[in-house]
């Protein structure tokens, strides 16, 4: 099987018009799905959020991003938040390749009045990361590893005295679930439809975790 390349990503993102939530929501946010060429093939950047009281996503894996400021374009929001949170300057070292389906944030199982737009970026050169207080660690994980059967798992989520089971991806003790899972699997599905690696069809490569 051939390894995924930038052409595959470009083809996948051009497959169809991503879903837009065109109706009015109280707030908009944007995240950056950043890809780079690593030794085991294309890798995607996740951040692990710091444990913070009052953060609904405290301690969870996610993409860098945040709420849009008044008058700010959403791609700029994704780049600004990425710079603030990780020190990665997408304006200087990155290239925007396209975007994924917009999603609505959830809290306590109910939709929130907040829409999130994910943008896909290519990181063109190696960069140092400088983490803000909001971020505990960054993880570059190979796309092939996240498509492997070993990565597919279940997350147990406590809710109102019961336990709900959601699909998730596991990698070296980290869980990718919820909105991040949804946005990432959107990319995986497009890559698969575009002729790239099918989920569950990949060899596991060396999944080294780097800071």
């Amino acid at each position: 099987m051939s390894r995924l390349g930038w052409e595959d990503v470009g083809r996948a993102l051009a497959l169809r018009e991503p879903v837009s939530l065109e109706y009015a929501v109280a707030a908009r946010a944007a995240v950056a799905v950043i890809l780079r060429e690593g030794a085991p093939g294309l890798e995607v950047l996740f951040i692990r959020r710091a444990e913070q009281e009052g953060d609904p996503w405290s301690g969870q894996m996610g993409f860098p991003g945040g709420r849009a400021e008044p008058g700010e374009g959403l791609p700029d929001t994704a780049a600004r938040e990425t710079l603030e949170e990780t020190g990665i300057d997408l304006g200087r070292d990155g290239e925007r390749l396209g975007r994924l389906d917009e999603v609505r944030a959830m809290a306590r199982m109910r939709p929130m009045d907040l829409a999130i737009t994910p943008f896909v970026f290519r990181l063109a050169r190696p960069v140092e990361t400088v983490l803000s207080d909001e971020v505990r660690s960054v993880h570059w994980i190979p796309l092939d590893v996240l498509a492997s059967p070993e990565a597919q798992s279940t997350l147990e989520y406590p809710y109102q005295g019961t336990t709900l089971r959601f699909p998730c991806l596991r990698h070296e003790g980290n869980e990718i679930w919820g909105l991040t899972y949804r946005m990432f699997t959107n990319l995986q599905q497009l890559l698969e439809e575009g002729g790239g690696v099918a989920p569950g069809d990949a060899r596991v490569t060396d999944g080294e975790l780097r800071r």
Partner: protein
């Protein structure tokens, strides 16, 4: 895939007899009822499979029955239930993993013969003529629609990561224990149609679970 707006649906009279076929939008505007199938699935733990509705659909972001869809022109309810279940959960309208049983005794026999960790057995439970549904339209406003709905109950022990939900239709899946479904109902996280199904069919559904 046929364009959803122009897809031909069966239209019915008040008593549930098929009187013709019309494109979806025309059928809904004609005052005639269209046909729908609703499927509720339970696993050996007594958890119910819920799907989160895509945000760009009516009642977007709310949690809904395991599977739902329209009866296409020329189809009967049983065929629509099998097709929609394969389509929404395994991304394959002809999935061999979906088995239709005649009744509860047949369902138990087929479950005993099959591997519930890989397949899914459903049986018809009721037909609701002229069921009313209330929906929030993306962007605001409410619509009410009238359907003839065939309800199916079924069992499967496929893990939540074992499904392959249809892109664009299903925004998320979760296995939810029955007290969790109760809490979601009271917390306003369920689509009205799912609340109806849970109150009317939840008891019979849970009887499919071995004690």
């Amino acid at each position: 895939m046929p364009d959803a707006v122009h897809e031909l649906l069966n239209v019915y009279d008040r008593e549930g007899a098929v009187v013709g076929a019309m494109p979806r939008a025309e059928a809904k505007a004609s005052g005639r009822a269209v046909g729908a199938v609703n499927v509720l699935l339970v696993n050996a733990r007594g958890e119910v499979l819920l799907q989160r509705r895509a945000e760009d659909k009516e009642n977007g972001g709310l949690w809904d029955k395991s599977v739902g869809g329209h009866v296409a022109a020329g189809e009967d309810f049983d065929r629509a239930a099998v097709r929609e279940t394969g389509e929404e959960l395994f991304d394959d309208p002809r999935s061999a993993r979906v088995v239709l049983a005649r009744d509860e005794a047949d369902l138990r026999a087929r479950l005993a013969a099959a591997d519930p960790g890989a397949s899914l057995v459903i049986r018809p439970a009721s037909l609701q003529l002229g069921l009313r549904d209330v929906r929030r339209v993306p962007g605001g406003g409410l619509v009410t629609v009238v359907y003839h709905v065939a309800v199916y109950l079924g069992r499967t022990d496929v893990g939540v990561e074992g499904f392959r939900p249809q892109a664009g239709e299903v925004a998320g899946l979760a296995w939810v224990p029955s007290p969790g479904v109760d809490a979601m109902l009271l917390g306003g996280a369920l689509a009205p149609n799912m609340a109806f199904l849970w109150l009317t069919h939840g008891g019979r559904l849970l009887e499919l679970v071995p004690p």
